[in-house]
């Protein structure tokens, strides 16, 4: 099987800061793949580079056989690759419904069945569709960010720390939604600091340390590894 997303030896900089130092990984169709690592390891930078918000200084990024490393983000979305950014980044002063419509921007008008689909997945959002997104709770905003991303019917969805700052019950809920998404055929690249939870639902994972991949394997393999247990699973 050919990889859906193939990142090959990318180097990414913020000015002089060398944040990502030769990272390579793959995501195959139908998988949940996780990038785990401590704060500042470069996880968000990698996602921003794949979605086109940043560009690598060298290396290639292929999505469904096309080189996207130097494409602009608004173009990349149209290829079926969406990014749910860190910190949710919902449009706080637009209504929930408008946020959902923005998610379907590339389709012109939001397709009704797509709206129905996200409202079935996230009934809370339906209740609050007229409310300004900024007035939602953290968990609801995360759901909105995910719903918004689903509106363009993506093939691959990248999520940056979707469980950040949420209560344990909500974390549980978010992870089960991610799992269901995969069941419905969406491929997922997940970035998490909550390594324990992420590794449990993950097919394969990569461990990132200061801009480099230091370990990789299936979720189960990594859960068993001593160095992973020590560094990321609290002993």
């Amino acid at each position: 099987m050919a990889a859906m997303l193939k990142v090959n030896d990318i180097h990414v900089y913020y000015g002089k800061i060398h944040a990502v130092k030769g990272v390579s990984f793959e995501v195959n169709e139908g998988e949940i793949v996780s990038l785990i690592g401590a704060n500042g390891a470069g996880k968000s930078t990698i996602l921003k580079t794949v979605s086109g918000l940043m560009h690598p200084k060298s290396g290639t990024i292929e999505f469904m056989g096309k080189d996207i490393a130097h494409m602009e983000p608004n173009k990349i979305v149209t290829k079926g690759l969406v990014h749910v950014p860190e910190g949710r980044r919902v449009f706080a002063h637009m209504s929930v419904m408008e946020n959902i419509e923005m998610g379907a921007y590339i389709l012109g008008k939001a397709p009704e069945e797509a709206v129905e689909d996200v409202f079935t997945r996230f009934p809370r959002l339906k209740e609050r569709r007229k409310q300004e997104a900024g007035t939602l709770s953290g968990g609801e905003q995360q759901m909105l960010a995910m719903a918004r991303a689903l509106m363009s019917k993506p093939k691959l969805i990248m999520m940056d720390e979707p469980s950040m700052g949420l209560s344990p019950i909500l974390v549980e809920q978010i992870f089960s939604i991610i799992y269901e998404l995969r069941e419905s055929g969406v491929t997922i690249l997940l970035v998490e600091q909550n390594a324990n939870k992420a590794l449990k639902i993950t097919d394969r994972a990569y461990v990132l340390e200061t801009g480099k991949i230091t370990l990789s394997g299936t979720g189960r393999e990594l859960l068993e590894k001593e160095e992973v247990k020590k560094a990321y699973l609290g002993g």
């Binding site: 979605s51 086109g52 918000l53 602009e72 983000p73 608004n74 979305v77 149209t78 969406v82 990014h83 950014p85 980044r89 919902v90 449009f91 706080a92 002063h93 637009m94 408008e98 419509e101 923005m102 998610g103 921007y105 590339i106 012109g108 918004r148 363009s152």
Partner: protein, 295 residues
Amino acid sequence: MSVFTTIIKQLINGLQSGSIYALVALGYSMVYGIIMLLNFAHGDVIMVGAYIAWMMMARFAANPIIALIAAVIGCTVLGVLIEKAAYKPLRQSPRISLLITAIGVSYFLENVAQLVFGANAHVIPTFIDDTPIQLGQIAIPTTALITVIVAGISMVALNVLVKKTRMGKAMRAVSEDAGAAQLMGININNTISFTFAVGSALAGIGSVLYCCAYPKATPTMGSMLGLKAFVAAVLGGIGSIPGAMAGGFAIGIAEALVSSAGLSEWKDGVVFAILIVVLLVKPTGLMGRPMTEKV
């Protein structure tokens, strides 16, 4: 004339100039909302609009509607050109570079106008039959009525554009979070150009309405008008569209009230006093949102 009719008359004046301030303030606010730039060249776009109106009517004997359309098109094109030529190359630069460039563009336009048309005022032929409409004791000048109506229609149209259309929603999304907007597939460059186009078109309408009240074009006419509209935008909350409208009317009415108290030479001073007070007491203005830095 009774005190009452004097006040009513001044209020009508205030609404007339307030409509113009509001139209111009919208351009400041929308542009600030989208690229965090105080576009000090915006007032000079109005000046160019006035020269276009003058040329059309005095030189080509065009009818006022044609002149209005020409001014609006001219301002729109100029606004988009300024953005593309002067501001777009500085998208990644510090905001202060952008601000200084805007001031540079302002001087550039004023000097080009002076070079081309000379420093003297060009009088625009009166194009509205100004027999006032008598409402009992009160005479409403036709220009005031037309100004308020045209400005009102423009603002309603702007509201529909921003609230209901795809491009309008894209504009709001980019103002809120340009990065997230890009991730939705929105083309930032087109959206920014569109914002300049809309703001400048409103300035074009404003310039023709301004010429109804003060029918002269001079190279520096845009600077005071622009500054007052800027104060209106700050008073309303820079970045906020309803704020710019409210701020424009508030400044117009404040000026008129000062005049009706017999202190018309204090008018400008009062406007800038309002700016100082707003900046001291509530820098986010009446309807502004606290600014958060975005990555």
